[in-house]
């Protein structure tokens, strides 16, 4: 049998079995199940992380056949937020059995997102992907110039012998580092 494939990565896509579809009527999806579905929505910029690993899903509210997902942006100008909103809606409609009109995604700004909300599993996934995970929040709100640099471990060779190249990397949430031992450049998901 020819199973449907993803247009981008060409991997077979999962097709829900009959029983799953019956179970997925909106009324008996629990909040936990909704969270589990959200765990499968990945950040478009750092696709190794799900939006729940990242800590940007702040709340899930169910009211009859309506669902509201509350998210918060990482950085003010994060260009991925619109995409994430679409993906949440697509996931809950296609896998969660909600009707399109009944899925609402709300953005809140306060309390401001922090890397403290990133899951431990998320940090491990980042490292395996080649991005140094954020340290516990340290000198972020310090405005003193030429502050001592944080000791960031190279995600490839584990050396702490690394130097900051730029506080601003390939996306707003990352800084650019270089390892002085293995000589590889790498991204650091900066603490925030």
């Amino acid at each position: 049998m020819c199973s449907p494939k993803c247009n981008t990565c060409k991997e077979p896509t999962r097709v829900l079995s009959g029983s799953e579809i019956t179970m997925s009527t909106a009324t008996d999806i629990s909040i936990q199940k909704t969270w589990a579905l959200l765990e499968q929505v990945n950040d478009p910029e750092v696709p190794v992380l799900s939006i729940t690993d990242l800590g940007i899903v702040r709340d899930v509210k169910l009211n009859g056949d309506e669902v509201e997902v509350v998210i918060t942006p990482t950085y003010s100008g994060c260009p991925a937020m619109m995409m994430i909103e679409w993906e949440i809606k697509a996931q809950l409609v296609m896998r969660g059995g909600f009707s399109k009109e009944k899925v609402k995604v709300t953005t809140v700004l306060s309390p401001a997102w922090t890397t403290d909300w990133m899951s431990e599993a998320g940090k491990e996934k980042l490292k395996a992907y080649g991005i140094a995970p954020p340290l516990p929040t340290a000198s972020v709100c310090d405005i003193n110039l030429f502050a001592r640099e944080e000791a960031i471990q190279c995600p490839r060779c584990n050396s702490y012998h690394t130097v900051l190249v730029s506080q601003f990397g390939s996306t707003a949430c990352k800084a650019h580092y270089r390892c002085e031992d293995c000589k590889e450049p790498f991204d650091y998901f900066k603490c925030h």
């Binding site: 003010s76 100008g77 700004l109 405005i143 707003a172």
Partner: protein, 251 residues
């Protein structure tokens, strides 16, 4: 405090960030080295992100079908409440850096206070942006020191930038009527309340950069109330062109 004052104040904050974000984005693809091009583009993105949040709030307050896009793209120069400093041409790297440093220092002290505003939306935006501003301030301040205390050419360039920009810094901490009105209502911040802290930080960094603090002098004002330099029209002409020529265009 009138509702109009709150709208004007929110637009003032939004216009500052949009216009500076637009100015900084002129460097995208043209920065002196790749890492710094990316850094300034990231800062531009943060500023435009702040602008969006503020315009969304202003649109909600204004009602009558206003949207973040109509506020950004369909107002003319005299409707903009931004400070003159942010609209000036980008100049060379030294001018862009020094302007960013003056502005980030201003935003830092402003948002420190505004994050405690009883207006929940303004407080949330300020609290959110404050962390980003800390990065902008460190980055631009470090560059001011590198350029001032760098080569003969870099020193000359940033000294010229200082002479050019200084008359536009006073406006940052001189309150417009809507700022006074919001400060009286304890919703907004009177920027003159942090003038000394602003000046202290600037003096400290200029000293490290071996640049003398310019003497007190006459300061340019008017931007906060819609009286702009000739530079703003050029920014708007480029930024608004698409929506003016093809109203409602989307991609």
């Amino acid at each position: 405090m009138s509702k109009q004052a709150l709208i004007d104040y929110t637009l003032h904050l939004a216009d500052n960030t949009l216009i500076l974000g637009q100015r900084n984005s002129e460097w995208t693809g043209h920065g002196p080295i790749l890492e710094q091009d990316i850094a300034l583009s990231n800062i531009a993105l943060d500023l435009i992100g702040q602008a969006r949040m503020l315009y969304q709030y202003a649109a909600e307050l204004k009602g009558g079908g206003a949207t973040e896009d109509s506020l950004a793209y369909l107002r003319d120069a005299w409707d903009f409440n931004n400070c003159l400093l942010v609209e000036l041409d980008k100049g060379d790297w030294a001018k862009t850096i020094l302007r960013q440093f003056f502005f980030s220092t201003y935003q830092w002290y402003l948002y420190l206070q505004l994050q405690n505003s009883p207006d929940a939306q303004l407080a949330a935006i300020a609290g959110k942006a404050l962390k980003e501003v800390a990065y902008h301030l460190r980055w631009s301040g470090e560059w001011v020191v590198r350029l001032g205390d760098g080569t003969e050419e870099s020193h000359r360039r940033i000294a010229d930038a200082l002479a050019n920009l200084w008359p536009y810094t006073g406006e940052l901490t001189i309150a417009a009527p809507y700022e006074q009105s919001l400060a009286v209502a304890a919703i907004g911040v009177d920027p003159s309340s942090f003038k000394n802290e602003w000046l202290h930080k600037i003096s400290e960094v200029l000293k490290e950069a071996t640049l003398p603090l310019p003497p007190d002098g006459w300061m340019q004002t008017g931007g906060k109330e819609g009286k702009h330099t000739e530079h703003l029209g050029y920014v708007l002409a480029e930024m608004q062109y698409l929506q003016r020529a093809y109203p409602g265009a989307e991609w």
